[in-house]
Amino acid sequence: MSKKQTRTIEVSALTRVEGEGAVRVVVEDGRVCQVQLSIYEPPRFFEALLRGRPLEEVPDITARICGICPIAYQMTAIHALEQALGVEITPEIRLLRRLLYCGEWIESHGVHMHLLHIPDFFGCESSIALAKRFPQEVNRGLRLKKIGNRLLEVAGGRAVHPINVAVGGFYRAPRRTDLQCLKADFQWGLEAAMDVTRWVAGFDFPDLERVYEMVALRHPSEYPMNEGRLASTQGLDIPVDEFENYFAERQVPHSTALQAVRLPTETAYSVGPLARINLNRQLLFPAARQLSDELGMTWPCFNPYRSIVARALEVVHAFEEALSIIDNYHDCAPARIAYQPRAGQGCWATEAPRGMIYHRYRISEAGAIEFASIIPPTSQNQYPIELDLAAYLPSVLGDDDVAAGLACERLIRSYDPCISCATHFLQLEVERR
């Protein structure tokens, strides 16, 4: 009887992703038999933390879930609460909210591409090495990030956990003059974003096509950010309030984060920029749409490595849309719609930079949170990441464990996972001579 040959590939700490995670792969007789993406940051307990808190505190608390995409958490919460309260916002408030999303997409995509993902395509171990080879390109990326942050400051009150957003609208609407001051930077940003897109579209992409279900919002007349129905590349088309009939979270023993599955099949699905563009490419703003045609890519695209192109196209779109909103913006009054607290339940989905995010809240008569459910994009992508790894790994099993581990990391980074944005602090070791 022949003996089984077992090989275990472990990456004990994923680098260049947001948060703490690890991957473990077990290979038996040359066959991948187990892939586990482990999240070992402690659970954040935000859903429990929200219970009993006044609904007005929800935007500030949910913003703290993620330091890179606070807007998505705040806005999804606010829209869900407004649904529960029966609040109807004005078209001007709605546009300002889209402007905030533009800022967040620009900033988040810019950071991921230039600091975390592009180094992979040049064999650079970090963006520091990338900066030595391509200083102009990295500087360009950092300037794009800075412009995104500036928009968040002007419209959101500050770039760090924006404080200006509220149930019903904004505490203070930005002045037209404040937004007009951003135009020159945004015009530069649009051209720069197009250059970035052409650059990344020319990268060497590993060949990995897995035709699985991709899910995103879809809207009849705009590229989806904070409104729409839930749609998928396999024909799903449902209102958001049916989310929990079609999707569920599951506990897995190897991770503190829940994994999401499609119901009733319990199969994987993915969210993110590639899902959004696959489902809504025709609604990109004109320059982004034309660029997506010129790149020579086949749409819809199911190669996760090419998600960087989708991100780059979304940065182009965000700059175009932001300029359009700024050009047509007149001081927004009222900045906020009044409401009376009442018992109720509401749910909503918006598109965070990393993908669709879903919230549901139940409110008491006095306006306190009785129940909260928050499903972030990264937990929805954990299962497809594991399946992608299982599909891709046979092609790199001939490499040593270090090279195979690096290949795993590259694939995971394509998803731009935001495992958690918890605390950061320096672990200081001082050698005293």
Partner: protein
């Protein structure tokens, strides 16, 4: 936040050189001390047009403001067995890497091997990587000081502990005195 910090008196000389001060932090418990320090410094230097103070939620945000001409002070929480309130003067070494000269709160100086300054950031693009990137892009300030505020642990969603508040005030006083030439 209650604190015992009192603004440094105006008897010291006014500031002439443009200076940047950035506090790194988050809303989570002890980890917010970098931001609290900025609030105190905003109050301290409210009349000084040459001082620019910013709060950063993630280390790479400091790249928005760094330039190689403007003296810069960074403030961040730190933990570890040897954690203490330190002032680290960070420069480029002959090979283009980073090195640091550090001093304790009582002014005792030590040489520090910069690679020992590890970050356990939950964002892999940590402060050291950020500074190395700035160095690679030639935006590392010619004068860069890192002030560390020791914290026992980063308590998620808790409050800043009173003893940590006092350490923040002490750090702010040291920094303010240095800027005033005291």
């Amino acid at each position: 936040m209650s604190h015992s910090h009192r603004p440094v008196t105006a008897r010291l000389r006014p500031l002439m050189e443009r200076t940047l001060i950035i506090g790194l932090g988050s809303p989570h418990g002890n980890d917010r001390v970098g931001w609290d320090a900025i609030d105190l410094l905003d109050e301290e230097f409210a009349e000084e047009e040459t001082i620019a103070c910013y709060k950063a939620a993630v280390p790479h945000d400091i790249l928005d403001w760094l330039d190689n001409a403007t003296p810069t002070h960074l403030i961040d929480a730190c933990s570890g067995p040897q954690a203490a309130g330190l002032r680290l003067e960070i420069t480029r070494d002959a090979l283009g890497g980073l090195q640091a000269l550090c001093s304790d709160a009582d002014g005792t100086c030590h040489e520090v091997v910069f690679p020992k300054l590890r970050s356990t950031s939950s964002h892999q693009f940590d402060l050291q990587s950020t500074l190395e990137l700035a160095s690679a892009l030639d935006t590392l300030p010619r004068r860069l000081i890192l002030w560390t505020i020791p914290i026992p642990s980063a308590i998620v969603e808790g409050k800043v502990q009173p003893e940590v508040e006092q350490l923040t005030s002490a750090c702010v006083q040291r920094l303010a005195l240095e800027l005033r030439g005291g």
